[in-house]
Symmetry: C2
Subunit: 147 residues, 2 copies
C-alpha cells in the first residue's frame, strides 16, 4: 500500500480526514506519518485546533495497527477503544503525527487474541510535531475484530 | 449568546466544526449541548468516526468554560490542556455531546487563579449520546488565560 493509496482510502472512508486535508507521508507498516496543514485546522487563536490534533493522532494510531495486521495477513477491522492526549505547546504551522512505537508483547497478545477469540487489543503512542518540535502526545487502545 | 450565535462563532473560528456540521442545541451557560450528524462524521465501518466524537466533546467542554467565564464577566481565552475519551459503543446515528458538570471547587479555583495570576485551570466531563444512549465519555482540562 503506497502513501497515495492509504490517503485515498482515508479520504474516501473518513470524510473528515479529507476536510482536514490529511496527507500520508509514510504509509507504514514500520511507521505511519500523517500530515495536516494549519489552514483548515485552525481555531479562534489561529493555532491548531485541539480536535484536529487529536484526530490526526487517532488516525495515525489506527493506520499503524491496520497496516501491521495487513502485513501479518490478518483480515480484521480495527476500532479505537480509548484515547488520551496531552497538549504541550500551541501549534502555529502545519503539523504531523508519527506512530512507530507498538509494544511488542502487546502486539503478540493482539495476534494471539485475534487467532483464538477473533478479537485482540493493543496500545499505541503517537507524537505530534510542528516544525520538528514535540507539540502533543497521544496514547490510544485499539481493538482488532476478526472478520 | 444564542444557539445561532455560538454556532456561527464555532463555524467561523474553527473550520472543522463547519465540516462536521456541528449544531448548537443548548448554548449554555448552565449546560452546553452540541449535535453532529452521522453523514460527514462516518468512518470505514459506517459508524461515527472516533476523531469526530472526540472533537465534538472537546468543543462542548471548551464552550462550557468559555460561556461560564463570559457570564462571570471575565475576558479570558480558553485552551485545552489534555483530554481523555472512552468509546463505549459504536454510534450509527446522529450524536450529541452534553457538558454540564463543572466541579464547583475547581471552578472557584479557576476564577481565583485568573484574577490573581492571569491563569486558571478546570476539569470538565462530557457525555456523548446517540439515540438517548451513552456512547462515549470524555474528560478534559482547560486553561483560561487572562487577556
Amino acid at each position: 500500500m503506497t502513501s497515495g493509496e492509504l490517503e485515498a482510502y482515508l479520504h474516501h472512508q473518513i470524510p473528515i480526514s479529507r476536510a482536514m486535508e490529511v496527507s500520508v507521508l509514510d504509509p507504514g507498516p514500520a511507521r505511519i506519518v500523517l500530515g495536516a496543514p494549519i489552514g483548515p485546522n485552525t481555531n479562534h487563536r489561529s493555532t491548531a485546533f485541539g480536535g484536529s490534533v487529536s484526530t490526526l493522532a487517532t488516525l495515525a494510531g489506527w493506520a499503524l495497527v491496520h497496516r501491521r495486521l495487513q502485513e501479518h495477513g490478518r483480515a480484521a477491522h480495527v476500532v479505537i477503544q480509548n484515547g488520551a492526549i496531552e497538549y504541550r505547546s500551541p501549534i502555529t504551522t502545519d503539523f504531523r503525527a508519527t506512530c512507530d512505537t507498538l509494544d511488542q508483547v502487546g502486539w503478540r497478545r493482539l495476534l494471539r487474541g485475534l487467532d483464538r477469540h477473533g478479537r485482540g487489543r493493543v496500545r499505541v503512542s503517537v507524537r505530534i510535531e510542528a516544525e520538528g518540535t514535540a507539540a502533543a502526545h497521544f496514547t490510544g487502545a485499539y481493538v482488532a475484530l476478526g472478520s
